[in-house]
Amino acid sequence: MLDSNSLLASADPALPWTWAFIAVTFGIYLYIGWRSRVKETAGFYVAGQGVPAIANGAATAADWMSAASFIGMAGLISFSGSDGSVYLMGWTGGYVLLALLLAPYLRKFGHYTVPDFIGARYYSETARIVAAICAIFISLTYVAGQMKGVGVVFSRFLEVDLAVGVCIGMAIVGFFAVLGGMKGITWTQVVQFFVLILAFIIPSVAISSQLTGDSIPQRAFAFSDISARLNEVLIGLGHEAYTTPFTKFGSSWNVFLITAALMFGTAGLPHVIVRFYTVKDVRAARYSAVWAIIFIAMLYTTAPALGLFARYNLIDSMHESTIERIEVTVSGEDPKSFPFPAQRAEAFAVIETAQAENTKASKKGLREPNSIVYFLTSKSGQPLDWATRWQNTGLLKFEDLDQDGQINLTLIPQTDRSKKSELAKIDRDIIVLSTPEVATLPPWVIALVAAGGLAAALSTAAGLLLVISSSLAHDLYIRFCEPNATEARKLFIGRVAIIFGIVVAGYFGIYPPGFVGEVVAFAFGLAAASFFPAIFLGIFSKRVNRAGAVTGMIVGLVFTITYIVLCTADKVLPFLFDAPLLAQENWLFGISPQGIGTVGMAINFVLTLAISSVTAPPPAEVIELIESVRIPSGSGKAVSH
C-alpha cells in the first residue's frame, strides 16, 4: 500500500475527476446551444428580448466574471494586500453606475448594440463607426485573455498542450455562439454562473474552516485572527503588513484614479451593456441589475478572504521547506536528478550554467531552454507535489540562493537595492488554482475548480464574441455594404463574423501579443474614456451634440491609448522597444497607466460639454429620442431599423 502510494506520488489524482467534470459541463453547454438555436436576428443579437430578470442577472454575472475574476483576481489581491480593493470596488462599483445611469435607458432605446445608440443619439455615422471600432478593439483584447485562461487550465489540469486546450475551447464556444447567438449564450451563461460560483465558494469555505475554524469566509476574514497572523508572518519575512493601505499603488490619488477607471470602464464595457438589451422592459432591466450585482458580490466578497487565506497558506507550506532533490533538464537532454544533500555540490554547478543560459534567453524574449525543478518537503514533512507540478508549467520557480538545501522566503536586500527571496517567481494566476492542492482538499474539489475556471473564461469569451460579431456585421458591414440584406442573409453574416472573432481570439490565446498582459489597463481605460461619457451625456443632457461627443470620444481615446502605450512600450511593442518610453519616475503627476482612463474620461467630459455649448443644439428628432428614453413605459420589441 505504502509502496504503490509513493510510486503514484507524481501522478495527479485529480486528473480523472477533471476529465469527468469538464466532459459533463461541456456536454451541458453543447446541449443548451443546440436547444436554443435561432432563426432571426432579434434572437441572435438580443435573445428575442424575453429573458427573465433573474436569469439575465445570472447571465450578466457569468458574462462579467471572466478568467481574470475567477483565476486572477484573488491572486492579484493576495499580492496587493489592502490596495487589492481597487479591483474589488472597481469591478463592483461600476455596476451601480450601470444600473442607475445607463442600463434602464438603453433598454428603453431598444436597439441591438451600443454603437446603435451612439449613432442615433449623435445623428452621426462617424460616431457609430468610432463606437463600433472601439467596441471591437476592447472586446478583442479582452477575449484574448479569456482564451489564454482556457489554455492555462487545460495545460495544467489535463496535461495537454496549451494550443490544444485553446482549440477545444474555441470549438465549444463556437458551437453554441454560432447556432444560438445571444439566446444560446444567455442560457449557457446561466449554467456557467452556477458552475463557477460553486467552484469558487466550495474551496474557499473548506480553506476557511481549515485555517480559522469558521466556515463562512466573509466572517472569518474580519473576525478571526488570520489577518493578524498573516501580518506578523509577512513583517517577519521583511514585507509590509497585509492590511496597510497604499503599499502597492503608492498614494491615495493613484488608488482613487485606478478604482475610478475600473468603475467607469465597467459601466462602459459593451459586452456588459448589451446584456440589458435582452430583457422584457425597463423594470426588468433594473431588477436584472439587482440580481447581477448580488450574484457578482457572492464571488467578490469571497475573493479577498480567499486571497488572504491563500497567501498565508502558501507561505506557511513553502517557508523553510527542505529540498529532497533537484531535477535539471538541459535543452534536448534527458532530465538529470540530484538527490540532496548527497549531490548538492554537483547540482548547484549544473544549475549555475543552466540558469545563465536561461537568463540570456529570457533577455532576448525567448523561451527558457532549461528547466530546473525543486522537489520539496514542507517543514511538517509533507511532500509538496503541487509545487512540483506548478514548476513544470513555468509559473513557479525556486532558487536556493544560499545553497543550504532549504527554501527560505525571507526577503534579502541585494546589491542593486532590490529585494529577493528564494521564491524566485510566483505567478498570481497560481493562487486560486493551487489553493485546493495547497490545502490538501480532495481531488474532486481540484477538478471542480478547473471546470469553474473554464466556465468563467468561456462565458465571458462568448459575450465578447457576440459584441465583436454585432459590431462587425450589424454596425459596420450590413449598414454600409449590404443595407438591403434579407433577414436570413443578415443572420448568416452575423454567424460568419462570430467565427472570424473566434479564430482571431484563438490565435491571440495561443500566441499572446504583448498587450494582453496590459489588457486591464487598456480595455477599462478605453471604455471609461470613450463610451461612458458619450452614453451618460447622451441620456442626461439634451444640449450635448454631435460635434462635442465625437471630438470628446476621439480625444479621450487617443489621449488614453497614447499614455498607456508610452508607459508600457516594452510590453505592448516588445519588438520595437526595450524599455518604456515614459519611465515610472516621469509619469504625468505620478499617475499610473492603469488610472489614466479616469483622466481621459475627464478630458472627454470637459471637451464634449464645452464644444456642445458653442455649437448648434441637436435636431428636434434627437430631443424626442432623449425624452422617450427617459420614460420607462412603452419599451417594445427591438427595432432592427
Binding site: 480593493s85 474589488l88 476574514f221 478571526s224 489577518s227 478604482t259 423594470r283 433594473r286 439587482v290
Partner: protein, 92 residues
C-alpha cells in the same frame, strides 16, 4: 384648447418624473462615493483606527463593506423607481 393644456400638464408630469429620478440618483450616488472613495480610499487610515472584528474599518470597507453597500444601492434604486413609476402611472 383643452388638448394643449392636457399635453402641457403631461410634459409637466414628465418633468417632475425626471426630477424625482435625478434626486434619487444623486442621493444614491453620494452614498456610493462616500463608501467607495471616502471611507475606502481617502479616509482609510483614519477609518482604520476603528476596529471591526480584528481588522481596521477602512480596510474592511475597502475589501468587503463597500460591495455590500453597492448591492443595497442597486436594490433601493429598483424599489424606489417602482414607486416613482406608479406615482406617475408610467409602469407598463
Amino acid at each position: 384648447m383643452s388638448n394643449s393644456t392636457e399635453s402641457s400638464s403631461k410634459s409637466d408630469d414628465a418633468k417632475n418624473y425626471w426630477r424625482s429620478n435625478l434626486t434619487l440618483v444623486a442621493v444614491l450616488l453620494s452614498v456610493w462615493a462616500i463608501a467607495g472613495f471616502g471611507l475606502s480610499i481617502f479616509f482609510i487610515e483614519s477609518a482604520n483606527q476603528i476596529k471591526i472584528g480584528s481588522v481596521g474599518f477602512g480596510f474592511w470597507m475597502a475589501q468587503q463593506g463597500s460591495i455590500f453597500v453597492f448591492v443595497v444601492l442597486v436594490l433601493v434604486y429598483a424599489l424606489a423607481m417602482d414607486r416613482i413609476d406608479r406615482k406617475h402611472k408610467l409602469n407598463d
